[in-house]
Amino acid sequence: MSSTTAVAGKNYLTDPKGIGSWIYTLDHKRIGLLYLVSVLFFFLVGGIFALLVRLELWSPGQTVMSADTYNKAFTYHGTMMVFMVIIPMIPAAIGNFVLPLMLGAKDVAFPRLNLLSYYIFMAGALLGVGTLFFKGVDTGWTFYTPYSTKTGSAAAMMVMAAFVMGFSSILTGLNFITTIHKLRAPGQGWTKLPLMCWALYATSLLQLLATPVLALTLCLMAMERVFNIGIFDPALGGDPVLFQHFFWFYSHPAVYIMVLPAMGVINEVIPVFSQKPIFGYKAMALAVFGIAAVAFIVWGHHMFTSGQSATAGFIFSLITMFVAIPTGIKMFSWLATMYKGTLRFQAPMLYAYAFLFVFLIGGLTGVVLATMAADIHLHDTYFVVAHFHYVMVGGTLMGFMAGIHYWWPKMFGKMYSEGAAKLAWFFVFMGFNVTFFPQFIAGSQGMPRRYYDYVAEFTIWNQVSTVGSWMIGVGFVISAIYLMASLVGGRKASDNPWQALGLEWQTSSPPPTENFLVDPVVTHGPYDYDKVAA
């Protein structure tokens, strides 16, 4: 591998120089970093909204803000975290950086489209944030009609923002699929494709096929607001439940857009830190597509109490049960991968462990909620809030943290402080469970979600939860400090600090602009730790 080491001092971070070389860059690695910085900024803002929400819920009645302010706080927390953080967090930020490297390619298939996607995303995101200057939005991230067509006009702007960001998602999906098909290194057949790439492939399919439905729905909503055409508003002869069907037709696949890439990251981290081949490669790849396929036909499980017919509920409940099967296969296969491995508990592996633990609880409670009768009592309570935070935060955020700690040395050529990383992990992981586990209990006892005020019986669970939110906050502040410190004073990272077999570790850290000085040829599978010494 020595021949691929870049000329000293020349890498994608430093060459070329100047602000223009970043904002007009066509380099997938730089675009990945642009996404990363933007997403982390929105994560900070969304996180502050989360802390405000939890602070208000410290005690019943008014604590620090009015009901209307609270409604806006949870709406911004939800919309920002979903559309501006969790959806682009892994595919657009990490995926952009690692996908071409993992394929041994110089860039994605359409570099200009890639840059355009970023700016479309930013345009949408700024439009969304801009609603704050027009009295804000209080609809919740689901925009349910007829509330959303009756409340202030900023709601239309936020809907527009989601519409615009959707296009970014569609274009990125298209770009990734083409890249995976066309730009794999010689020798990298479909069975030698890293599972992260399979996960990004399945995610891209979902983005490409589901997002247009959201766009159409939001268009219909705009037409109703502007031209008074009755589509969703019963006062105009429309049907509000129809909106829920359309919305969840996109937003349920979106949940898998959020979590499949995280599974991809875990697929990379666990074999490396066990120094063992991934267990059941083919089943793992198939499971991702199984989940993606089922994703399209389960949306009605969000609507068991909506007035949807019992027959529809029956079918949606039945199909939803099958999501558990491929998910279970992945869970067990990760365990089997670690069995008799040589496990190293550095930060990426700690986050992979956190992912397994948290996603397990999220998945099991998902089966509970898919059960029609159980959902009648639990729907729209804190049980659901806890469940989807376990899946979306537990899944996506833990996956993201695993990924960012895993590829950080490759991205910046620097190592972070492992001790500080372990400390932060402790706060993030413990804080997460302290925040969200009590919400299962409050929810099954009957506390509805989106409640500004609550009956006194729920006080204790809310206070534990609020303390947990502070722990998560501390964890991320520590993370931000040691990661930024590593950029300035961090130890230089070697090209392959984790002894990994993926192609991205065969080039220098950080990689040169063209990724590989010598075009790589793939001679072994990405997880052949039993055959090849990394």
Binding site: A67, Y144, P240, I278, M338, T342, M372, I376, D453
Partner: protein
Amino acid sequence: MPMSGGLWGTIPIAASEAAHAWDALWYFLFAVCVVFFVIVVVPMVWFAIAYRDKPGRRASGPSHNLPLEVIWTAIPTVIVMVIFVWGWLVYKKMELDIPPDAMEVHVVAQRWSWSFQYDDGRITTNQLFVPVNKPVKLILTSKREDVLHSFFVPNFRVKKDTVPGMYTTTWFRAQIVGQHQIFCTEYCGTGHSAMLAKVVVLDEENWKLWKWGKDVELPPAIGLGSYQLPTTAASLDATSTLASNKQGTVSLSKEGEKLFQTRGCVACHSGAAGSIGPDLHGVFGHEVELTDGSKVLVDENYIRESILQPQKKVVKGYEGVLMPPYMGQFTDMELNALVSYLKELK
């Protein structure tokens, strides 16, 4: 009187017939979750200890094992199917198997209060009065110009969205005398978390008193909800002609009949020879054929839709008969009364 439910109080007290069936399912789900949690977490901890990287240790172990993979696909499949079937059976009991003798109450939600309309024509706000051990069928809607709400009684495991312009139904048989908390569980804006109410379950004697319009002493709160009704009770359906009828002197179907006579319905729907519109006697609960040959069941929703938007589903033989749409001309409570009347029109 126990005040909290099973599993160390993590679920509410079970105060209705269906709640017991729900609880049994819940215990099963809880057990399945605990078992699978242990199956995954115990190996995670064990591997972290036993297979920690040490100098000289080399990784071994299989990279695939077909029998194992078949087992961990097949067993969860069987388990989720059991869960599904059980979940469906309990759902059916909770939502679909409404006893035919159930007492009907119309629920009208608006931002941010609940109104209840009884068969005797009485209307109450934020207090739903029902007798103990008798089935009660709820026919729910939001006011047409309002938003979605959801009617949730944790103690009964009852939850149903109220949708403007549409009826939804659910039912319960309350088993514990007392006041049971009602929450709104579909986000509806500023007053969402203050949209609280109580189901007041009365024993037989008090129920009779209440039916006669006498004052009854309110029974104690059961389980959740130390909450007291706000002194400024939310307004009733003020524009309704029914608002004066709080005492229940005229039954709901009689109110409907009055509307039927005075708002012009009877001119075309009297059922007399030569009537312009279809005869409405005895149609409720039966299927009718439409102009396009399809069939529709005459239920609450169809009656409501045919009043508000009569051209949407026209009965065969009445092509070209242009009944004017009554959208905006009846309040939701008046519509409930009309529906109640047509139901009883044999």
